[in-house]
């Protein structure tokens, strides 16, 4: 007699599917949020600092657990959008304030307002006007800036300068483009490369534009450049005006004069940093955070810092500051009230000093941190802070405008210019075209 096992196999298959479904359901149950658990994103590479924030918050709030999620810079502007607007949204999300991701999220109600954080942390008083302005969108606050940084600084190798017979200016300011060219010529004669820059980094070339533009434009023009992309604001300047074009032209002059290292357009920021750290380049473009890195990676390298020469000789280059907001609370956060407490804590004196300053060497985003707390910072950075207080801090253009107009847009254009494929005027026209498109949207 032939006995079929089809019925048995079918039953087994159904049982297997049922078991799988149960496992999925259980997984879903276990992933349900705990009201004392906070999920916080941070940018990759900064684990120590944000672990410090998390640990201090947990100490101050017994019973609360902070789970950290690392997000790469690339995905912060792209793939992370899907996470922030999904049912798996973190409680505190990374949203670079100058990225199209930020404006998209705000427009589509993906982020909640942070007025409670402003009250808890007294940010109306403790944030500088410029930082507060950066965090505003349509009159509301949607993100916080947890630190201030200076960038587009020129670090120089003191020993290289001595060998080349170069005297660094005491006021940290390179007088003119011709002076920078002369420094480079002397360095090369002494066997060093000039100014190391990551030409393919996607940001360092436009950093230099951020340093030069305020020396070419009036404060009113700068204010317009920073806000004219928003159709709610009146555009009183054009990127084809001399203020912008002249700044780009000075960048072009640097390239034509051979100020940068050989092959700079094909070099990453890490490769240019390696040149400087190995004392093969006499100078490098970097930010205030780089001082701590240098102290760690090249402790024997004696360095100083300078600022790029102004476009208008009667103007003075200021340190370029960025307090780009980057932490926000998604509308779909599971613990928004706890997230608000966390953000307020990040901006408290305890958070700013205990985590940002002590662990990351970050400059405080708030203005009420005592100078005595800043003593842990490298000497060069303390000098930069003092210089900023004395001579003012310029807001970086690419830190302020959406990157579809700023960094992401202008960086390949500048590369193209250095390669002979664009002119300062054509770059101005391309940027203005982008602004017109954004305003028309």
């Amino acid at each position: 007699m032939h006995t079929t096992s089809t019925g048995r196999r079918t039953r087994l298959a159904v049982a297997g599917l049922a078991a799988a479904s149960a496992a999925v359901a259980l997984t879903g149950c276990s992933a349900a949020s705990d009201e004392n658990t906070l999920t916080v994103q941070f940018t990759q590479g900064n684990e120590k600092v944000y672990q410090a924030y998390a640990s201090l918050f947990e100490e101050a709030n017994p019973g609360v657990t902070v789970k950290l999620q690392s997000v790469s810079t690339e995905s912060a502007n792209g793939a992370n959008l899907s996470v922030i607007t999904s049912s798996s949204a973190p409680d505190v999300a990374i949203v670079p304030g100058n990225s199209p991701a930020y404006t998209s999220l705000v427009r589509d109600n993906g982020l909640q307002t942070l007025e409670t954080v402003w009250e808890l942390a007294d940010l109306d008083t403790r944030y500088d006007e410029s930082t507060d302005a950066l965090t505003l969108y349509d009159g509301e606050h949607y993100a916080i800036a947890d630190s201030l940084s200076f960038y587009s600084l020129v670090y120089y190798n003191k020993e290289a300068f001595d060998k080349a017979g170069i005297t660094a200016p005491e006021n940290h300011r390179i007088e003119s483009a011709a002076a920078l060219e002369a420094i480079t010529t002397d360095l090369k004669a002494a066997g060093y490369q000039g100014l190391a820059v990551g030409g393919k980094s996607g940001y360092q070339l436009s950093w230099m534009l951020d340093a030069l533009l305020p020396t070419s434009a009036t404060p009113e023009e700068m204010a317009s450049y920073s806000t004219s992309w928003n159709p709610a604001n009146e555009a009183t300047t054009s990127y084809t005006d001399a203020a912008f074009v002249d700044a780009v032209a000075q960048l072009q002059q640097f390239g034509a004069a051979g100020v940068f290292q050989d092959g700079y357009l094909g070099a990453s920021s890490d490769q240019s940093a390696a040149l400087f750290e190995q004392s093969q380049a006499g100078m490098i473009i970097a930010g205030s955070w780089y001082a701590a890195i240098l102290d760690d990676k090249a402790p024997d390298l004696d360095y100083g810092w300078l600022l790029l020469p102004p476009v208008d000789p009667s103007s003075m280059t200021q340190v370029t500051g960025s307090s780009t907001p980057q932490f926000a609370i998604p509308t779909k956060a599971k613990n928004p009230e706890l997230a608000e407490k966390y953000l307020a804590f990040m901006l408290s004196s305890e958070g700013q000093v205990g985590a940002g300053l002590a662990v990351g060497g970050y400059l405080p985003a708030v203005n009420d941190i005592q100078d005595s707390e800043l003593s842990t910072l490298p000497e060069a950075v303390r000098e930069m802070i003092e210089d900023g207080r004395t001579n003012g801090i310029a807001s970086g253009w690419t830190s302020t405008v959406p990157s579809t107009i700023g960094q992401a847009n202008v960086e390949p254009l500048i590369q193209s210019m250095y390669d002979g494929g664009a002119t300062p005027q054509s770059i101005g026209e391309a940027v203005q075209k982008k602004v017109d498109e954004v305003r028309a949207d």
């Binding site: 792209g78 607007t85 980094s201 050989d262 092959g263 357009l265 070099a267 390949p412 390669d419 664009a422």
Partner: protein
């Protein structure tokens, strides 16, 4: 006692039975087992394609609802000189890398298949680049091509050819090191495919050719290549498709620059989506790229079948 057979098959099938063969009925269980892989296929392949097409017909910044705009993204893609240049650049890249890989792989396989000394060692060595992660290769070679301190320039300097070549820093030359590295990275897989095909050619064929006075080179071009042509066609086609879809290596070595001089279509699509949050435009370009490669693949398959039938 009479035993009655319950089988539906004829009692005897010996001696060339003329009874029609009855079709076996598949048990229902077989259909149940097809369902899970079908679901996986639809979820991982079908659904993303449908969504991709939907996004390509929309204006979308990555959040919020899709804003249907019809074929505007496709029209603007074809009208954008940067897109057209990227497509041409990608075709150039794919053809050079595809042909380069197969040409070199064939030469290496020919040497190994004829029993050159150390052939066992070479089989391993020439396959090694294929197992290195592409992104790691890109980072390594990006440094190797740096002027002054890069390994390639150091070697050239040692040979008296100068050590300050900044190929990656010029739009005129940046794509060539990338193509060279792509060929190096992909040669291993093609080498194994071509070698396998070459080793299927009967030795007696070569012996007969030798008797007729054909030397190794003549044998290679007149016997080996024609006989392995179907494999060569398929390998070229696959290498071209993979090269056209290559993102990691190009992005790691040049980021698509200087300017946009090495922005192949995958890099262009990536920038459109994740730097400019123009997901609709990016999807449209991805769909166009997919259709073109589908046509290339179909042509290649047809060619390989036609040659195989010969």
């Amino acid at each position: 006692m009479t035993v009655t057979s319950t089988s539906s098959l004829p009692a005897s099938r010996e001696g060339g039975s003329t009874a029609p063969r009855r079709r076996r009925r598949r048990p229902p269980f077989a259909y149940v087992m097809i369902v899970p892989p079908l679901v996986v296929l639809l979820a991982t392949f079908g659904y993303p394609i449908i969504e991709g097409v939907r996004i390509s017909l929309s204006s979308w910044s990555g959040v919020g609802p899709l804003n249907f705009i019809g074929l505007d993204n496709y029209i603007s893609a074809f009208q954008d000189p940067a897109v057209v240049q990227s497509v041409l650049r990608t075709l150039f890249y794919a053809v050079v890398v595809g042909l380069g890989v197969v040409t070199l792989a064939s030469a290496l396989a020919a040497a190994v298949s004829r029993g050159a000394k150390g052939s066992g060692f070479y089989r391993v060595i020439w396959f090694l680049p294929s197992v290195i992660p592409v992104a790691a290769s890109g980072v390594f070679w990006s440094t190797a091509f740096q002027p002054g301190y890069g390994a390639v320039n150091k070697l050239l300097g040692f040979l008296g050819l100068g050590d300050d070549h900044a190929w990656l820093g010029s739009s005129e030359t940046a794509l060539f090191p990338v193509m060279a590295v792509a060929i190096w990275a992909n040669i291993g897989f093609a080498f194994l495919l071509v070698l396998g095909a070459m080793e299927q050619v009967p030795v007696s064929t070569y012996e007969a050719a030798s008797i007729d006075g054909a030397g190794p080179v003549r044998q290679f071009f007149s016997i080996t290549l024609p006989l392995i042509r179907p494999i060569l066609v398929v390998t070229i086609m696959l290498q071209m498709i993979w090269a056209a879809n290559e993102f990691s290596l190009v992005y790691a070595m040049t980021g698509g620059g200087p300017g946009t001089s090495t922005s192949t279509l995958p890099v262009f699509i990536y920038n459109a989506a994740f730097k400019f949050t123009e997901y609709g435009v990016a999807s449209a370009m991805a769909i166009i790229s997919g259709v073109v490669l589908l046509i290339v693949g179909a042509i290649g398959l047809r060619l390989s079948r036609a040659k195989g039938d010969d």
